[in-house]
């Protein structure tokens, strides 16, 4: 049997105003990062319900990263502060459930930080890949 090369599956939630634009800038500057990272656009990082993160893990994601505006720069004034608090709680709970801390992350990426976006994704993908497949929360019933 041929062993398929392991590729992590990473879901990135990016806020429309800063991080999504940062990701676009990374593209404009042709800064490479792994194709394992798939971006979902949300209006603000505070739109990300912890449920979405759990859903991603349940469906077999190996890592979930949230990107928002830098603290104080939120387009909606205070959204990213809520994100920070909510995700601190969620991630510590996931940690308790043996979902390693390296599989979850909140990062602040501004619209000018294309290089930071690419570097963050490279680093995150590398750390997640080192941990291997996430089976802890994966719901096998979802596997087809």
């Amino acid at each position: 049997m041929q062993v398929k090369e392991y590729k992590p599956l990473i879901v990135a939630f990016c806020c429309n105003w800063c991080s999504y634009a940062g990701a676009d800038l990374a593209g404009n500057n042709r800064l490479n990062y792994p194709a394992d990272v798939k971006i979902i656009r949300v209006p603000c990082s505070c739109r990300v319900n912890p449920m979405f993160v759990l859903r991603a893990f349940q469906r077999g994601a190996d890592g979930v990263i949230l990107c928002g505006c830098h603290p104080g720069d939120c387009h909606y004034t205070s959204g990213n502060y809520y994100t920070r608090r909510r995700m601190a709680l969620l991630f510590s709970m996931l940690d308790y459930l043996c979902i390693e801390r390296e599989r979850t992350r909140v990062e602040w990426v501004s619209a000018a930080e294309g290089a930071k976006f690419a570097a963050t994704m490279n680093d995150f993908a590398e750390k997640v890949a080192a941990l291997g497949e996430n089976k802890r929360l994966e719901d096998l019933r979802c596997k087809k």
Binding site: D24, I39, I40, R47, R59
Partner: protein, 664 residues
């Protein structure tokens, strides 16, 4: 079931170079709901758009996915295309396969695979899209300015100049604010009254402007374009429409020992008063705390001497309700209280004064008619010590002062020192400073002139304590550059007190649901790009209520706020962003979680009657989102414990569908 069309763009070789666009179009054709798929070199070109339009008509498409560049680039373009073909523009989704795929990945198989997944996610989302229509609301073409200082005056004049009606609400009996109390203004040294009072007269004579003096805003309801405001007109016991401002009453009133707050209580006024000669409106006001007639019904002198018959001891507070389209906050500032700074002996000696008091002492219309005399014995001071940064730039845990730099103190202290040396060359003037901050046009030149031409002694160091001894004040201070401790026998000590927002700002912010920082300054919608707008739509900021400012900056900001108001009032209708939150009233339990996290105050509660299956009715409290105020961040959707709150265009279901599509 949706009928979805997928359009894959080559973007020349930008996408097609790393992504097999034909394979992507083929793969996405198999997705649920997709009935049509195509690829084309430049989808954003006229020919590409025509391709989309024709496909929509030909295949009766209910939704489209365009796999192309970033939605930040061409989402608007494709939405217009869809609208032109009769499709709701919010039925368009973009899969970003250029910036986030072809440009960052180098190998064709990898790029193609990712592009297919991104396309699948967009298809999954568009399957759940619903047509959205932006809400419209009318605009009341009138503005309210709260605060009648130079900021409020300038804003009102500029708005009125554009042809819109403006009302100014001022809590004092006259407009003019702090600037009316000043003597000269830096750095040009023109007299404040000479440049302010003509503006005050302009306000009074402008047909578009109404002044509610001695009034306060007590209630604000509604939202951008449609505010309902209640204004309390406090009883001044004088009929405004009859009073001619002749001043006969203020001369004859027997109650002479009323502290004069306009002169910062350094002299007295009568119980019936006009704050200063150029007051607007020039109408007398009775202070009910001192008037004998109001207190115990004995006196009535003013009513006897008033030829116009304007005195009315039975006047009551009046509540006026008005409608406005925009509100400008211009509540201004005050110097902080010096009570906590025992070391400067402010409460022990009359000769320790604040800079604003010094301003009145040197003002020709002030308590000493412009002669610089000590408040205690009315002697001419021979040695004056100015202390800067009193209460500014303190540590966060310091309870006495403020963390921020008050910005204007360096310049007005230089002005005071210079004017003193100019008028009284025999007077020694010392200024103790930590840093001299003079960023501004002609500011540093002004400060240097005070030192070089007028011989003001600037000493780097702080005053440690002031001790009254006889008729002198012993000032103990450090000279850091000379590494010495100085003891100066001064006649007058002037404290450059930090400034803080007016106390009325905090309750007003609550009424307006406008946000404030920890220092009670109003926060801007964006600190750099939207500095005169509050995050609450329709509320604008002018002057020192937003942060410490000098007069030129205040006037500039007032004009900017006015232009934003004019921009709003010039519209007949406001079109909102349709991607707003909405609550499912069957699931909402009225817990207020969403209201607490909303930065815009867009969520309110109402009691709604529900019919139960057994024909009884039930009253339940439910959340209602005002679509004109909501900006669509979605914070409330996560805070909602029952899942009743959702965001149109970014619904939980849609985002989960995207997650599922990506993780498949």
């Amino acid at each position: 079931m949706q009928r979805i069309g997928v359009f894959v763009c080559w973007c020349g070789s930008n996408i097609a170079g790393t992504v097999d666009v034909v394979a992507v179009a083929e793969a996405l054709k198999k997705e649920p709901g997709v009935v049509f798929s195509a690829n084309y070199q430049y989808m954003c070109s006229q020919a590409g758009q025509d391709l989309i339009k024709n496909a929509i008509k030909e295949h009766n498409l209910t939704g489209i996915v365009v796999c192309s560049c970033s939605p930040r680039m061409h989402e608007a373009t494709f939405r217009k295309t869809a609208a032109a073909a009769g499709l709701n523009p919010y039925m368009v989704e973009i899969a970003n396969i250029r910036e986030q795929c072809s440009w960052v990945h180098k190998e064709m198989p990898i790029g193609t695979e990712k592009a297919i997944i991104l396309g699948k996610a967009a298809v999954a989302k568009v399957n759940l899209n619903t047509p959205l229509v932006p809400g419209e609301s009318p605009v009341t073409k009138r503005a309210l300015v709260i605060g009648g200082g130079i900021a409020g005056i300038q804003t009102a004049l500029d708005i009125a100049d554009a042809g819109f009606e403006v009302d100014i609400v001022e809590k004092k009996p006259t407009i003019g604010g702090k600037m009316a109390q000043l003597d000269k203004t830096f750095p040009t040294l023109d007299c404040a009254a000479c440049i302010l009072t003509p503006k005050m007269v302009d306000v009074a004579q402008n047909e578009k402007i109404r002044i509610f003096s001695y009034s306060e805003v007590t209630d604000v309801k509604g939202f951008v374009g449609n505010f309902d405001v209640t204004i309390k007109k406090k009883a001044r016991y004088v009929k405004e429409e009859l009073c001619t401002g002749c001043g006969a009453c203020t001369e004859k009133c027997p109650m002479k020992k009323v502290p004069n707050d306009f002169n910062l209580n350094m002299d007295t006024k009568r119980a019936i008063y006009i704050p200063f000669a150029q007051a607007v409106p020039k109408v007398a006001t009775i202070d009910p705390d001192y008037c004998n007639m109001l207190k115990n019904g004995k006196c009535g002198v003013c009513s006897k001497v008033c030829a116009a018959g304007a005195i009315d001891y039975t006047q009551k507070d009046e509540f006026i309700e008005e409608k406005y389209g925009a509100i400008v906050v211009a509540t201004g500032f005050n110097p902080i209280s010096m009570d906590k700074f025992d070391e400067f002996a402010y409460n022990q000696s009359k000769d320790v004064i604040t800079s604003l008091e010094f301003e009145r002492l040197t003002n020709a219309a002030g308590p000493t008619a412009g002669k610089l005399l000590r408040p205690s014995d009315h002697k001419h001071p021979e040695k004056i010590v100015f202390v800067q940064c009193v209460g500014s730039r303190c540590d966060a845990c310091n309870e006495k002062g403020k963390e921020y730099c008050s910005k204007i103190c360096c310049m007005y202290t230089a002005k005071h020192a210079m004017l003193t040396r100019d008028k009284y060359p025999d007077t020694e003037v010392y200024v103790f400073y930590i840093d001299v901050r003079t960023p501004g046009k002609n500011f540093d030149e002004f400060y240097r002139r005070a030192v070089e031409e007028y011989g003001v002694h600037y000493i780097k160091g702080m005053v440690g304590k002031v001790v009254p001894e006889g008729d002198k004040l012993i000032v103990q201070a450090s000279d850091l550059l000379d590494n010495k401790q100085l003891k100066i026998e001064a006649d007058l000590v002037v404290l450059a007190a930090a400034i803080e927002p007016d106390k009325s700002a905090r309750p007003l912010a609550t009424l307006l649901t406008a946000s404030m920082d920890t220092n009670d300054f109003f926060t801007e919608a964006h600190p750099k790009l939207r500095p005169v707008e509050s995050p609450t739509a329709g509320v604008f900021l002018s002057g020192a209520c937003q942060g410490p400012k000098d007069i030129p900056e205040t006037v500039a900001q007032a004009g900017a706020a006015a232009s934003k108001v004019i921009g709003l009032l010039a519209k007949d209708k406001l079109t909102g962003n349709p991607c707003v939150a909405h609550s499912n009233e069957m699931m909402c339990n009225g817990c207020s979680s969403c209201e607490r996290v909303c930065p815009y105050g867009a969520i309110t509660y109402e009691d709604k009657e529900f019919r139960m299956p057994d024909r009884t009715t039930l009253m339940r409290r439910i959340a209602v989102v005002n679509p004109a105020v909501c900006q669509g961040c979605g914070c409330c959707t996560v805070a909602c414990p029952s899942g009743a709150m959702d965001l149109k265009g970014f619904a939980s279901e849609q985002i989960i569908a995207e997650v599922d599509a990506i993780c498949k």
